[in-house]
């Protein structure tokens, strides 16, 4: 019914031979304008402006001053920037594989449609839609070395010196990774569930007839069939992981302690733009463009590699 309705509308817009009539483009633009105007004004213009600003020094008060590649050369030589880049990659390497793997495992369990699956599905998705600041504050307590949930359990089971989490240079970033996985996993579960429900039952039954066990069916039928979903999850999670900022900001009260061990590329960008007593918008813009290049490069690599393991129908 919906399809036939759409066909009628399309036929009315298009000519008898299926081609669009003169003036249809203008009508289409008219419909697009309400979204296009703010998109150009607040996104396209902003993106282009930051590119120009990345070659300037601008404190938000005086006029921007052209400095060529100074901002980029400063960043390359800045120890703190190198540290936050390493932290961001470490975070992404921790969150993306683990949240993908755990998301898939839980989705496989939920796909069995056992009693209470709907409740569990809601429970797993809840962290993703919970206000990040609120959940980050709760995790502050979870990671508290004195009375926190994790260390209390570890202490109760006989670990004499549980990790200090945010009080430790070794464990501060893993604490953020754990929080990141907890938050991301619900989103991945929903995507994997959608992917699993699209797997053709007849293929699984054929595999069973051929004598394939549970693992072999999963390895040689399910996994290849959901590989486009897996690829989508990995790409989206990677982009999100590179943009991590708010949980570290809230959990450390904006301090990114200890000694910037929980600071990330976006945290560094924020500090240079808004926390430093003299705003360094040019430098922040250069950071934003370098972040874009990192994400772009990683995504391109993922697209290049996907040809080897992603199967489309």
């Amino acid at each position: 019914m919906i399809r036939s309705g759409l066909r009628r509308v399309t036929q009315r817009l298009a000519g008898k031979d299926g081609s669009y009539r003169r003036g249809d483009g203008r009508v289409a633009i008219l419909f697009l304008l309400p979204d296009l105007i703010p998109f150009v004004a607040f996104t396209v213009f902003g993106v282009l402006a930051t590119f120009g600003l990345s070659f300037a020094r601008w404190d938000l008060i005086t006029s921007p001053r052209w400095v060529g590649f100074d901002n980029y050369s400063y960043l390359i030589s800045d120890d703190l920037f190198r540290k936050v880049v390493a932290n961001t990659f470490y975070y992404a390497l921790g969150v993306v594989p683990l949240s993908t793997l755990l998301g898939l495992l839980v989705a496989l369990g939920l796909n069995l449609k056992l009693p209470g699956a709907l409740v569990l599905r809601t429970a797993y998705f809840a962290p993703y839609i919970t206000t990040l600041a609120a959940s980050a504050l709760i995790f502050q307590w979870v990671f508290d070395p004195r009375a926190g949930l994790i260390d209390s359990i570890l202490y109760a089971v006989g670990v004499a010196n549980p990790p200090g989490w945010l009080n430790s240079t070794t464990w501060a970033l893993p604490a953020l990774i754990i929080f990141g996985i907890w938050r991301q996993i619900g989103f991945n579960i929903v995507l994997f569930l959608a992917g699993l429900q699209g797997v053709d039952r007849s293929l699984l039954e054929a595999a069973e007839v051929d004598g394939a066990g549970t693992w072999a069916s999963f390895r040689h039928v399910t996994l290849p069939l959901i590989s486009p979903t897996t690829f989508f999850v990995v790409v989206i999670s990677t982009i999100g992981a590179f943009q991590v900022f708010d949980q570290a900001y809230v959990m450390t009260g904006g301090q990114f302690y200890p000694d910037n061990d929980t600071n990330t590329i976006v945290g560094y960008l924020f500090q240079k733009a808004f926390v430093s007593s003299t705003a360094q918008l040019g430098l922040s813009s250069a950071v934003a463009w370098l972040l874009f290049l990192f994400v772009f490069a990683v995504t391109m690599v993922q697209f290049a590699v996907q040809r080897r393991w992603v199967y489309y129908d």
Binding site: I61, G164, F256, Y257, P258, D259
Partner: protein
């Protein structure tokens, strides 16, 4: 004026403030108390502002006022703004409160959007004076600065101008829980005590074994590393106003910082470093009886006063062996935006907030250690026994460095020292990098 009459006038002034007493009633009651006419006129002027200030704006105007502070402090500010509103009905004041942690981030954004408040409660004044956004009172209203010493105005001075006046002193004390001291059989700390005394007491007052400690002996704000350096005879820079290099990378500097870090990592008598970040995390521990001694300023008093069953008092800062006790001096104050579209109304509000009535109200509200000597010596202030300690400690305050990049220097050094507080690095190892980073920021902003 004899002391008793002065005390009577103080009491009456505070009563007039809280009860909205009419001018006539105030004068009648003051005369009945035997107070002279010139003293009454002077008191009225301080309560209501100068007579010239009453020239009301011809048409209603709206101005904004930004501030940080505890909820108690906001109550006091709101009371003052209500009084101001009654006196100047044509000036509508819109308060903007922001938590201290985010105050300067928001201010920087406001600066960018050219929408800063007309009157601002501010610290790191040279940073914002250098941006050209604050009114230079030295040139526009020099008469209002006459009651302040050069030292008092140091934190508000920049490049020959004066951009505000201080409200209070950020005087630090050690709050101690008498009930916990009694239970542990430890004698209360006395003025003139040393850091070794503090360490001994903190050990005796700590209950449990790390990391499962149910009661801590002491908590300090690790952000106040500057104070520990001063207390051990170390200066931060070669100049407080125009520094060219950091001077804190010394054995004495390392010794002071290591002592504080050892309280956390060796003696394990303090909460973990994440809970030492600010008084906001320390105060609840003290109020709930999980902490015997807490480092802090007068802003903590209202919370502790209101906590049922909390038996507390204060003692002055301890000293390092071979050195005198040193405290922090100077505090935040009021400034006026140079971008204000209502400069006359903004100045009116600024005058009111820096006047004696506001200072007295803050002192009565128990929120701050006032800078005004008249208030500091008043009966209303000294009537609370712990305030005597605050008053004495404010006399040994060390001047705070004040230059445009001070905030950035403190941020970078504070970040470098975080590894010391968590025990991942010794102070001796961290200080060279901290000093080098400070030098880098100073040089970049020279």
């Amino acid at each position: 004026m004899p002391d008793q009459l002065e005390r009577n006038l103080d009491t009456l002034a505070l009563e007039a403030t809280s009860a909205r007493m009419s001018r006539l009633t105030f004068m009648k009651r003051a005369l009945a108390l035997g107070i002279t006419v010139p003293a009454i006129v002077s008191a009225l002027e301080s309560l209501e502002g100068p007579a010239s200030a009453h020239a009301a704006e011809s048409s209603p105007v709206q101005i904004t006022f930004s501030s940080w502070g505890s909820l108690d402090e906001q109550v006091t500010v709101n009371q003052l703004l209500t009084i101001f509103q009654q006196r100047f009905p044509n000036i509508q004041v819109q308060p903007r409160y922001t938590d201290f942690t985010d105050y300067f981030t928001k201010l920087n954004a406001d600066v960018a959007a050219k929408s800063i408040s007309d009157v601002l409660f501010l610290t790191y004044v040279p940073t914002y004076a250098a941006k050209g956004i604050l009114l230079d009172l030295h040139h526009t209203h020099p008469q209002v600065l006459s009651g302040y010493t050069t030292d008092e105005l140091f934190l508000f001075s920049y490049s020959g101008g004066v951009y505000g006046v201080p409200r209070d002193n950020d005087t630090k004390v050690i709050f101690y829980n008498r009930k916990l001291f009694n239970a542990a059989g430890v004698a209360y700390p006395k003025e003139g005590w040393s850091y070794d005394d503090l360490r001994t007491a903190a050990k005796a007052l700590t209950k449990g074994t790390a990391p499962r400690i149910s009661q801590y002996g002491y908590a300090y704000e690790s952000d106040f590393w500057r104070l520990w350096l001063w207390q051990n005879g170390v200066e931060l820079f070669d100049s407080d106003a125009t520094p060219t290099k950091a001077t804190f990378n010394t054995p004495a500097g390392a010794q002071a910082l290591q002592f504080m870090a050892d309280l956390t990592n060796v003696d394990k008598v303090t909460p973990p470093p994440t809970q030492l970040a600010s008084s906001a995390t320390i105060a609840p521990l003290f109020a709930s009886g999980q902490l015997a001694m807490a480092f802090g300023n007068h802003a903590l008093v209202p919370t502790f006063v209101k906590t049922p069953g909390l038996d507390w008092f204060v003692v002055g800062m301890p000293h390092f062996s071979g050195h005198k006790a040193v405290n922090a001096s100077g505090g935040a104050g009021y400034t006026i935006s140079k971008q204000s579209s209502q400069p006359a109304a903004a100045f009116q509000l600024w005058s009111f907030m820096t006047g004696l009535l506001a200072t007295q109200t803050f002192a009565a509200g128990n929120d701050v250690t006032p800078l005004n000597p008249q208030v500091l010596k008043s009966q209303a202030w000294l009537g609370k026994p712990y305030n005597k300690i605050f008053a004495e400690q404010s006399l040994i305050g060390h001047r705070f460095p004040s230059f445009a990049a001070a905030g950035d220097v403190f941020n970078v050094v504070g970040s470098d020292l975080e590894n010391v507080w968590i025990g991942a690095e010794t102070a001796a190892a961290a200080l060279p990098k901290a000093a080098a980073d400070a030098d880098k920021v100073i040089k970049a902003n020279a």
